[in-house]
Symmetry: C3
Subunit: 215 residues, 3 copies
C-alpha cells in the first residue's frame, strides 16, 4: 500500500530521494505561487499540487487507492511546514536555487520510474506505461501552472524535461523486458539516464523549437 | 449511498442547508461566468463546477461512488434551472447579494464537515481528513475560477475562507476524537465555528498578506 | 472492456468513425497548441487532452476502468504520430479545415452517445446520463483550452455544439426508453440528430447570446 512496501523497498536510499523530491517540488510551488501574489493558503495548495499532482493523476488514471499523499500522510504535513515557512524560504532561495536542480532531477526520475512500474504492474501497454511514468514525474508542475493561470512551462520551449523522463522510462522498460536485468539495475539505469540527460539539457540549453502555424 | 442515508440523516435540517448551499453556490457560479461573457452552456457548467466541484474532487480522491451529483440526481436539475433563469437572477442579484453570505457560509461549513467525516470513515490521517474537508467545502470555487481563466480567488488575499473551514474541521475532529462528544454536538460545534469565523472575517476584513519573493 | 467489445460491436462502421474522430480531435489540439507557441511535448499533450479528455472525465466520474486510452493503447500512439508530424500537418491544415467539420461532428456525436450509454448502464438518472454523454463528446476541447490558458470556447457564444450533443443524447435516450427502439436505430437516430443539428448551427451561425450582469 505505502510506497515503502512496494518492490522498491529493497532500496532504502530511494526513500531519501523521494523525501528530497517532495521538499524541492514544494519549494518550486512556493516560488510559482509567490510570483502570483498568493497568500499562505494559495502557497500551500500550489506547493501541494506541484509535489503530489503527478502521482495523483497517475493513481486516478490507474484507479489505485489510496492516493500517494493519503497513504503517506506525513508528506502533506511536510508541505504545510514549507508553506508556513515560505516567507523565510523565499529570502534565501535565490542563493540555493542552483542546488535545487540535482534533487529535482533525481526526484523527477524516481517518480517517473515508479509511475512506469505501477502502470506495468497494472498491465498497460509499454507506451502507456511510459506515458504514465512521465505524467507522474512531470505533471505536478503542469497542475501548478494551470492553477496559477499560466501556460504550462513544460509545454513551451525550455530545456528538455519531459523528454528526459520519456527516454529514461524506455531505458528502464527495455532493461527489464528486453535485457532481463533485475529491478535494481533497471531502476539505476533509468535514474542515471534521466538525471544525466536532464542536467545536460539544462547545461547546454537543449530545447525543442516552438511549432507554429505558417502565416 | 445518498447523503440522506449517511449518519447525518438524524439531522433533517442539514438537508435544508445542503439544498440552500447548492443554490447559492450555483448563483455564485452564474455571477462568475457572466463576468466572462459566457452563454447559457458556460453558465451552467461553471455553476455546476462551483456547486459540485469540491465534492467531486473528494469522491475521486477517496474513490467513493457514486459521485454526489450522480447519487443526488435532482441537484444537477436544480443547477440547470438556475442556469436557464440566470438572465432573471442577474437582474436582482445585486440587491440579494448581502443575503447570500450566510447560506454560503453555512453550506461551506456543512460540506467541509461532511467531507471530513467521509475521509475519517475511509481511514485517512486526521490532517488528511481535515484537508479533504476543506477541499470539499471550498474547491468548487477554485474549479470555477480555473475554468474561467482566473487566478483562484481562494488563493489571493481576501477575507479568510479556507482557513475558517480548516479551523472548524479541527474543532469537529477534536470534539469527536478527543472530547468524546456525540456526532450531533461535534457537527454543531464545527458548524458554529466555521460560520462565526467566516462572518467575522468578512465583517472585519481579516486577510492573510501576500507572500512575495523579496526583490 | 475495450470499446469494440461493448454492445456497439454489432456496428463495425462505428470503429471507423471513432478512429477518424480521434485523428480530427488530435489535429484540433495541434492547432490550439500551435497558437500558444508550444513545442512538440505541449502539442502532444494538448492533442491528447482534446482527443481523450472527455472520455477520461466520464470514466473517472463513473469509476470505469481501464480508461479509454489505456484500454485502446493504439490510440495514444496515433496521437503521438500526429504530434510528431504536426509541422507538416500545420502546412496544409488551412486547406483541409473545411473537411474536418463532418468527421468532427460525427465523432462528437459518437462519443456523446456512447458516453450516455455507459452512464445508463451504470444506472444514473436520465439527465445525468445525458450530461455524462455531453461531457464525453465535448469536454476534450474544454480541457485543451484550460491547459492552453484560454476561456473554453465551448462556453462563449459560438455555433451551438454542446447543445447539439445534449439534444441528440435525449433523442437516443427517448428512442431507447420511450420508443422501445433497438440499439442500432436509437444510435442512428441520435447520430443523425447531432450531426444535422451541428452542421446547421455552423452553416447558419446559430449561437446563444452572452449572459451578462446588467450594469
Amino acid at each position: 500500500m505505502l510506497f515503502g512496501e512496494y518492490r522498491f523497498r529493497l532500496m532504502p536510499y530511494l526513500v531519501l530521494i523521494e523525501f528530497l523530491a517532495v521538499i524541492v517540488s514544494a519549494i518550486y510551488g512556493v516560488l510559482l505561487a509567490a510570483r502570483k501574489g498568493m497568500d499562505v493558503v494559495g502557497v500551500f495548495v500550489v506547493a501541494f499540487a506541484v509535489a503530489f499532482g503527478g502521482g495523483t493523476l497517475r493513481d486516478l488514471f490507474l484507479d489505485r487507492t489510496p492516493l500517494f499523499w493519503i497513504g503517506n500522510a506525513h508528506y502533506p504535513v511536510v508541505v504545510l511546514a514549507i508553506a508556513l515557512l515560505s516567507g523565510i524560504i523565499l529570502r534565501f532561495v535565490g542563493r540555493i536555487r542552483p542546488y535545487l536542480l540535482l534533487p529535482d532531477a533525481l526526484g523527477m526520475a524516481l517518480f517517473t520510474l515508479t509511475g512506469t512500474a505501477y502502470a506495468m504492474e497494472a498491465g498497460t501497454s509499454p507506451f502507456v506505461a511510459v506515458l504514465l511514468g512521465v505524467i507522474t514525474g512531470t505533471f505536478g508542475g503542469v497542475l501548478g501552472d494551470v492553477i496559477c493561470n499560466e501556460v504550462p512551462s513544460l509545454f513551451i520551449p525550455s530545456p528538455l524535461n519531459a523528454t528526459c523522463a520519456f527516454t529514461g522510462a524506455w531505458v528502464y522498460w527495455g532493461m527489464l523486458e528486453w535485457g532481463g536485468f533485475a529491478e535494481t539495475y533497471a531502476l539505476t539505469g533509468g535514474l542515471v539516464t534521466i538525471v544525466a540527460f536532464r542536467l545536460a539539457a539544462v547545461k547546454w540549453n537543449w530545447c525543442f523549437p516552438a511549432i507554429r502555424e505558417p502565416t
